[in-house]
């Protein structure tokens, strides 16, 4: 900042405008520096304390507030979502239980019908079996009767052919006792 043209000489500057020694220690300039420093510091202090710092503090507080509000809103929404999920899960469980119930009922109903049908069929089958047995018994009885008649006749004929006299009653008794093991 030296000016070549300056003719002004002081304790700190020579006639060529060059510094003598260290300009930082020049006592002649110190009142000026101190004065302007104090003015500057007071102005900066006023600007900061009246305008800048309250404003920045306000901005930061406002942002903090916004963030807090947003977070609480988000938490609220999350709680509601969880609630909805719970309700949904409950509904799902209910529906499943109901479905199981209906299935069980259905199964029971079908089983009942099935049992009835089986019982009915069993009854029919046993009736048929009884009928058949009866028919078979009849057939067997009639067959025995026919065998008995044939045996009587044959026995009488054999007795006659052998020269005896066929006593019908005696022959019948003999055939009956001979056939005893068969029936």
């Amino acid at each position: 900042m030296a000016t070549e043209t300056t003719g002004f000489v002081s304790a700190c500057i020579d006639s060529l405008g060059n510094a003598i020694g260290m300009p930082q220690l020049c006592a002649e300039w110190m009142p000026n520096q101190v004065f302007w420093l104090l003015v500057t510091l007071v102005v900066i202090y006023l600007v900061l304390s009246k305008v800048a710092l309250p404003r920045i503090g306000g901005i930061l507080a406002e942002r903090q507030g916004t963030i807090t509000t947003d977070i609480s809103a988000a938490e609220d929404l999350k709680a509601r979502a969880l609630e909805a999920e719970e309700v949904y899960n409950k509904a799902l469980a209910d529906a499943r239980a109901e479905a199981l119930n209906i299935a069980a009922e259905m199964r029971a109903g079908i089983q009942g019908e099935l049992n009835d049908a089986i019982a009915h069929a069993d009854a029919e089958i046993s009736a048929k079996v009884a009928e058949s047995e009866k028919a078979i018994g009849e057939i067997r009885a009639s067959a025995l009767e026919a065998v008995k008649v044939v045996a009587n006749d044959t026995a009488a004929e054999i007795v006659t052919a052998l020269g005896g006299k066929a006593d019908a009653k005696a022959v019948g008794t003999a055939v009956t006792s001979g056939m005893k093991g068969w029936t």
């Binding site: 900042m1 030296a2 000016t3 300056t6 003719g7 002004f8 002081s10 700190c12 500057i13 405008g17 060059n18 510094a19 260290m22 300009p23 930082q24 220690l25 020049c26 002649e28 300039w29 110190m30 009142p31 000026n32 520096q33 101190v34 004065f35 302007w36 420093l37 104090l38 003015v39 500057t40 510091l41 102005v43 900066i44 202090y45 600007v47 900061l48 304390s49 305008v51 800048a52 710092l53 404003r55 920045i56 503090g57 306000g58 901005i59 930061l60 406002e62 942002r63 916004t66």
Partner: protein, 235 residues
């Protein structure tokens, strides 16, 4: 050393305490820069900040947290004063790095004024808050009794050395950086040294940018430490 000369803005003549000088010019520029950074950039009060507003908020948060951490909750009342000091030193340091600029913080008159202001206000605050209980900072209760007078003497000396170290640290760092760059610039006229010299200037300049911030930070955090001593003189 001509870069440190204080000269009148208008004409020649003796420099009285009220004369507008290059000191005035660069301090006014400092005020304007601080205004631009902290006032203009925040004028929209945006919830989602612009870049400039982000920087303003960052500086605010940085110093606020420093005051709160170092000086304690009751130190937050003095936050505007500390912010004023920090912003002034930081911005003048950076402005002083502009080539042909005048670095006001490289002058001991400036830093000593600030250091004395801190020293006096902190001392007065200490006595005002605690009366003679403030003298407890010199009387270390945890030390063995025979050692306490010696420690008290050391503490008293170190207390009164504070404003000196506080001011010379800042002015010395700033002056040294500018002087080193000047020395390397002097070498640059020799053609075969010039590349080395220019590279060195670039490197030193980068270092000075760092130093500018660190010295502002150091001055401020020491102020906070002194403030803590005044607010809580019991060790």
């Amino acid at each position: 050393m001509d870069q440190f000369i204080v000269s009148p803005l208008f004409g020649d003549g003796p420099i009285a305490w009220y004369t507008p000088t290059n000191v005035t010019l660069w301090m006014v520029l400092t005020i304007l820069a601080i205004g631009a950074l902290l006032v203009l950039s925040t004028s929209r009060r945006a919830i989602i900040p612009s870049r400039a507003q982000s920087i303003a908020e960052l500086v605010y948060g940085f110093i606020y947290k420093m005051v709160e951490d170092v000086a304690g909750k009751d130190g937050v009342r003095y936050f505007p004063y500390i912010m004023t000091l920090f912003m002034f030193i930081l911005v003048t340091n950076f402005l002083g790095l502009i080539p042909t600029a005048f670095a006001t913080t490289s002058h001991i008159a400036v830093t000593a004024t600030m250091a004395m202001a801190v020293f006096l206000s902190v001392t007065i605050l200490g006595f005002w808050k605690h009366g003679f209980g403030f003298l407890n900072i010199f009387w270390i209760g945890q030390a063995p009794l025979p050692l306490r007078p010696i420690l008290a003497l050391i503490e008293v000396i170190s207390y009164f050395v504070r404003p000196i170290s506080h001011s010379i640290r800042l002015a010395g760092n700033m002056m040294a950086g500018h002087a080193v760059i000047k020395v390397f610039a002097g070498f640059a006229v020799v053609i075969w040294i010039a590349p080395v010299s220019i590279a060195a200037i670039t490197a030193i300049y980068a270092l000075e940018v760092l130093v500018s911030f660190i010295q502002a930070y150091v001055f401020t955090i020491l102020t906070c430490v002194y403030l803590k001593d005044a607010l809580h003189p019991h060790h």
